[in-house]
Symmetry: C2
Amino acid sequence: MNPTHSKRERLTAAAATLVHQKGFSNTTLADVAEMAKLPLGGIYYYFKTKDALAEAVTERRVSDIDALLEKLDRLPTPQARLKALVNVWAEDREIDALYGCPIGSLCYELAKGRGPLSTVASRLFTHLLAWSEAQFGLAGFTRKQAKTHALHLISALQGISLVANALGDSDAILSETRFLTGWLDTLSRTQKNGGHA
Amino acid sequence: MNPTHSKRERLTAAAATLVHQKGFSNTTLADVAEMAKLPLGGIYYYFKTKDALAEAVTERRVSDIDALLEKLDRLPTPQARLKALVNVWAEDREIDALYGCPIGSLCYELAKGRGPLSTVASRLFTHLLAWSEAQFGLAGFTRKQAKTHALHLISALQGISLVANALGDSDAILSETRFLTGWLDTLSRTQKNGGHA
DNA sequence: GTCTATATGGAGATAGAC
DNA sequence: GTCTATCTCCATATAGAC
């Protein structure tokens, strides 16, 4: 509605895309302005500094995660939800092999040197981990087991994105997501009271 | 011996440390010169460009990996070697939680945008994966299983480094390395002809 | 609110004395 | 081979007209 919000939205969207593809340091405000079809100086009405733009991009990623998890919450069982999360990586394998996971690569870059920004970035993982941990809990695992399994799952997804990106090989992601799906199945079978949400 | 090599060595060592701590983009040649106790201009006698320095850092990491794997090769069984690899991450957990895995964070950064440099960086993972795959093969797995397991292992180690770095939590690395060690034990037990190198 | 023009600083890279 | 001084470019950021 408000044209102000529309431009701000275009800026964060353009920045999110460019940061994913080229990294934050390699992305110039001129790049962002061009993709958002705004003059360079126009950015500063919406964002005082480049770091403020990075923060907006991070917030946007947090929203993406929250929206995804809400969608997954509609599935009937925790096992189905966890497998659906894994499946998101399988579906995004081509773009992740090209540019890495948008969350992981952002966190890794923002963690270097910048104090305040890295704090915001860490929220991306606390959300994912808390949700996964909750699912494992609902599936009947103890709190400790749920925590360990959630950490393993999210780490594996982040790691395969990084490795596949380094190798430029999207099939690696497919291999690992199949492995993780199998692991989740095995866990369900091992459980006594297997997964009634 | 040659004082030239000594300075070149000091430069790559300083660059490797700084790139790990602050990232490649955030590291200036002035930083490197200062840490290596050389004047800024002196760098250009050894490295024509900043990218050439990045390449030297990457080569250095490749050497580190090769030396590590050679050391692990002296262990009696493939299971012992794989568990020892995991243990390296457990031992390095404090520094990895602070700055991320030196290999993974370097690859992620160099993969963004730079064509030629990312190729060199990918060698870091091809070495690690080939070695791990060989160990799983020696442990009695089929080629396909060995490939899958190697990818899972290296991904998990990379992923936990990334997540622990984002959270600033070295205990996360400890949790995951314990999990992986347990997984390797389970694999051995599942195998019929368990692991005679 | 939006745009143009410009200031400022910093980082990579070079020239050239020694 | 080594060091000092400097150049140039470019990216962030600002000033100020409209």
